[in-house]
Amino acid sequence: MHKDYLSREEIARLQEKRFRETVERIFKRSPYYQKKLKEHGIKPVDIRGLADIHLLPFTSKNDLRGQYPFGMAAVSLKKILRLHASSGTTGKPIVSGYTRRDLSVWADAVSRICQMAGVTREDIAQISFGYGLFTGGFGLHYGLEKLGAMVVPFSSGNTERQLSLMQDFHTTVLVSTPSFALYMAEQARELGYDPASFHLRLGLFGGEPCSDLMRQEIEKEWGLKATLNYGLTEVMGPGIAGECSERNGMHLLEDYFYAEIIDPKTGERLPDGEKGELVLTPLTKEAFPVLRYRTGDITRLIDSPCPCGRTGRRMDYITGRSDDMVIVKGVNIFPSQVEEVLSTFPEVSPHYRLVLIRQKGFIKDLEVQVELTPQGFSDSFRELEQLEEKIRSRLRSTLSLGPKVKLMEPKSLERTTGKSRRIVEVEKGELE
């Protein structure tokens, strides 16, 4: 795994070389980019290296969607060994194809992420990501196998059986979304399992952002060390960045991915350390190459040395998505901000939902629904109303907007095995 310890100069050289190869391949083989770059008046001679990357246009989620199903291919289809697709909650899904080399890069990337997190060949890892078109299951599967861990390819769902196998197999590593890890803990408690009867020591969580509170909660419930990792289907899948045991940001695998941070409004490139939208250019992708993909994830890059000795710059935890951002009464709100505020109240659980109340096509109001914990329940109306008011006023000072706060019964908000859906829109008057 020496790639994680290259000097910064060596990484830069490798990135430069691979970027030029990528650009060359794209000009030669990608009908989509040939057309797009021509429209932007960009010729192969204009892009001599990474110093010129800012001249290239961005690629957005919609661009990819518009190329459904195979418009992004830059190899003949018979060279594509596998397809994955993002969950198309709106419109067509985004398809991603992989050549043999792409699959081998992917397995290598994921195995390095897993090793960083602390997985060893002695571990028994249960993968509770869905296996299928979603990249989570297969992505982690081949990476962990490459590393030499014993893989339990459970996939998602059937929580009761997941728990009993985890107990029987003495599973040491759990791979899932953070919300599913919490959900399983809840189920374990409900079904009367003794948390000490599990052997989990490490968690690899990804697929959705995870707040500090959620992480603490998972660690407390399961008694494991929770690590986060990052990836997205459009660029490859899981395996783009991950935490080492220092857990001070996620190391990017910079030999495979070139990262930039831009201002989501203007598209201007921001200096290192500033917060903005992450833009990724995979440097080795053959089947479906992508240039300057706008991830929509808001983060910043950290280039101070990490005590673990790995040299890959780190990306900070995702503090929001440029497309998750909701605008209510002219105020930009990221769900993660709400989550941070809620996490300071032991009276409510980390399960929450943002309800955008529309009236005549406009978002008129925001309601924050949050589940009460036993600690928060009081027989007195006054106290419950005071709690709502306290949460509301703390939200007001963070968001500069005081949303309505609604206390909910435990487990009344939807739990999903995949990405939890935290934002819903309703017409005014539709609220129960």
Binding site: P374, F377, D379, F381, L407, M408, E409, K411, S412, E432
Partner: protein, 142 residues
Amino acid sequence: MVKQISVFLENKCGRLVRVTQVLGEAGINIRALSIADTSDFGILRLIVDKPDLACQVLREKGFMASETEVIAVEVPDKPGGLAQILTYLEEAQINIEYLYSFVEKPAQDALILMRVENAPEALRILREKQVKVIDGERIYSL
């Protein structure tokens, strides 16, 4: 003091029915109840024959339930009966958070349940004024 079960309820169809079903299935008999709500949520308060069991089964079924202690007093069933008792508490400046009554009368007198701010003091005053305070065991077995 009498053990009362308080249940947090979202204002949503079917939740109240479900509480009563859960209690029914567990063979628990409801003696008295009151429900109070805002536009968002309600608190259901119950007096039952087996309070500890009721709290346990409700929690097992996912309800937010807790036990609270309330005072039960017998009120002479005649005009001004309740007023007299409330006056004692008011004079002592003890606030009443809520009160509700039993449907059945155990005897000649009416039965009132109340939650007050300073319960020990309230009990002392009520006893001093010779108001009949009823203990939990008698209430559960009515």
